[in-house]
Symmetry: D2
Subunit: 136 residues, 4 copies
């Protein structure tokens, strides 16, 4: 059973995306209902917002390797994004996937698709687990 | 003399960044006064917003190679981001720089710094000029 | 039916990899029998050689979108590589895959695996078809 | 005073590049006299060899943060390469530069230039220090 994370951070409240964690496949989702507030000067989804959704899905996918709540903190170290197609208004969903890594560093890729199936963007990233001693 | 671009797109109005174009060095700037709305779950600047600022500065820098208004449309093809240090609240500024390319494809890098001088993130990207025939 | 490309270029003769094109799935392969000449100071496959194999498989995959011989020239514009695991001696094979793009620019990803199934590295890249007029 | 590293690994002996370490600026160099053995099907420097030189310069630059001999082992975690211009025969030199990072992870960029000054390629990468306990 999956759990939704809403309104957790300032950015999430501002932009309005939702994170879904807890899926058995270990892949977190991050979706957004794209409207006029999320568009760029070409009137399609802003690349920065597309990146935000893939980064968030990837980080939560990393968290799920530690505990199913998707809240264990992971930092983005580097992220490479390919902007494949224009993102039209409507729901878009990023889904993360672990491709490798060890205990502290994970390689996580993500795909962002429109609800009509269009592949909008892909990303590959290096993520780092935040050690517990740094959190207290 | 530089020109400020405010509130041009939905995303820009939502997030509140400002683009500066027209500098003689050919490098567009994009700055944001980071507050609580731009933070992630670690209470520092969200990586997606950092990326947005560098992407915007890079795209406007590409535009300035065509005309100084910084409005000639350039698309992001791919973008690689390195998250160097946490971005604290305060003004952060991305500055773009052409590293190479031909008539239609440009290689553009960017640096994002806090007003205290900290290097927060760097990016390198491939950008593509939108042909005129696609705009009419 | 697939075709093997051997010894086509100086680099290929030096390093010894083989390119396979013509598969019905549209994905070119590039394989190498890794021996002592391909190792780095950690005594595993050198990252530069791993990159070479994925770059070659990706470029040939791009070529196959134009004609099945895999010889139509495509240039690498940018390439992002994730080094997932150490590559041990033995046969390693890169396989390319188109993820998107238009007539002149293609997004092509690749995976490099050891014959024992280990995923050694992944790449995502932007490739550009060389226009015919530039070739004469 | 700088030191040259020749013929250290199988790949280095095969390809023939030289690593220079020990410079006061903390930036390792890696150079190669490009000849017919290093060319691709466009008769210019193969992208995989360009990547190898930048990867090697970056790794040695990371090593120099630990000790000036440039031999402390650093692993490439991810590498992003931009192929800016064709590399012609002649000497080409990659130079690495630390852009950030902490004790175990370093962000290292590199530039590859021809002896005539042409910028051939740039890279940004994430590198990881190999812990001492893993070496014994």
């Amino acid at each position: 059973m999956s759990t939704l994370i809403h309104d957790e951070t300032g950015t999430q409240r501002l932009v309005g995306y939702v994170i879904e964690v807890g899926h058995e496949d270990g892949c977190a989702r991050c979706w957004l209902d794209v409207d006029e507030r999320h568009l760029n000067r070409h009137n399609v989804l802003h690349g920065g917002i597309a990146t935000m959704l893939m980064d968030s899905a990837s980080g939560a996918t990393g968290s799920m390797t530690v505990d199913p709540s998707g809240l264990a903190p992971f930092l983005s170290v580097s992220l490479n994004v390919q902007f494949i197609a224009a993102g039209q208004p409507g729901r878009v969903t990023a889904i993360g996937k672990i491709t490798g890594g060890g205990r502290s560093i994970k390689f996580i890729s993500a795909e962002l698709r429109h609800e009509d199936g269009t592949l909008i963007a892909t990303s590959t990233g290096v993520f780092k687990r935040v050690p517990q001693e740094k959190l207290s």
